[in-house]
């Protein structure tokens, strides 16, 4: 699924790095614990999280994530947006809860990481 379709499904707003129109998301992982994000391969995966700070971006960068959905109406600050752009990570801001975002993506055919 394309990043823009995902943004639409979660009624999200796209910020951070510009959307890579060719990128296909196949899986999702939901976590507020960055320690766990670093343990898995994040290929073709979108991270769904309510953790909104610089370390979310640093972790995403190390994990090779290209898209992160920030749920629960979290607002990234300038610093975070800059890190996202530098690491080429697109952020999708959504007002929905993590549970709702996950349910929507699951229904739309996005696979769990495991």
């Amino acid at each position: 699924m394309k990043i823009k379709e995902i943004a639409q499904l979660v009624d999200g707003q796209i910020v951070g790095a510009p959307v890579d129109e060719t990128y296909e998301v196949e899986k999702a992982f939901a976590s507020d614990l960055m320690s766990d994000v670093l343990r898995f391969s994040m290929d073709e995966t979108v991270l769904v999280t309510g953790l909104c700070n610089n370390q979310t971006m640093r972790t995403a960068e190390m994990a090779d994530l290209r898209v992160v959905i920030l749920g629960r109406d979290k607002q990234p600050d300038e610093d975070m947006l800059e890190l996202a752009v530098d690491a080429d990570i697109t952020l999708v801001k959504s007002k929905f809860s993590i549970f709702k975002i996950s349910g929507i993506l699951y229904n739309a055919g996005i696979k769990p990481l495991y």
Partner: protein, 137 residues
């Protein structure tokens, strides 16, 4: 090639900068993506540990054609029981560290998993030196 970075105690605004910079360098050098990933994940875990659990320190990275050697040396409390620290789930992370998204007790086991060689020297009340090697060939 040799690179050195400073790590600052408790600075979660900048924590990860060194790992980010190393990632950029490895990309420029054309290192295989799978090797980049395991190198920077290990380095990042060690960098965060030095910020989170110690009083800061230094990172030294040496890259040649066949391997990457990373040394993260901190001044800090040291690790009283290394066997325990290496276990999945063991953590003494402070509330502040947990707020940042860390403290699952998975960092050291993850470093072990991602590197080919891991050496941890630690002395209580003095500090910890983590030496990690990733072979490229």
């Amino acid at each position: 090639m040799h690179y050195t970075f400073q790590i600052e105690r408790g600075n979660f605004t900048d924590a990860g900068q060194a790992s980010s910079s190393v990632k950029r360098t490895l990309k420029q050098l054309g290192v295989a993506p799978a090797n980049i990933k395991r190198t920077v994940v290990a380095l990042f875990e060690a960098e965060i540990n030095a910020v989170a659990h110690a009083y800061g320190g230094t990172i030294d990275v040496d890259i040649d054609g066949e391997k990457i050697v990373m040394v993260v040396a901190d001044e800090g409390p040291g690790i009283p029981n290394l066997d325990l620290a290496m276990q999945e789930g063991w953590s003494t992370a402070s509330p502040k560290v947990r707020e940042m998204g860390y403290g699952a007790g998975m960092g050291l086991p993850n470093i072990k998993k991602n590197t080919d060689d891991l050496k941890i020297e630690t002395e209580v009340g003095v500090g910890t030196t983590v030496t990690m090697t990733v072979y490229l060939v």
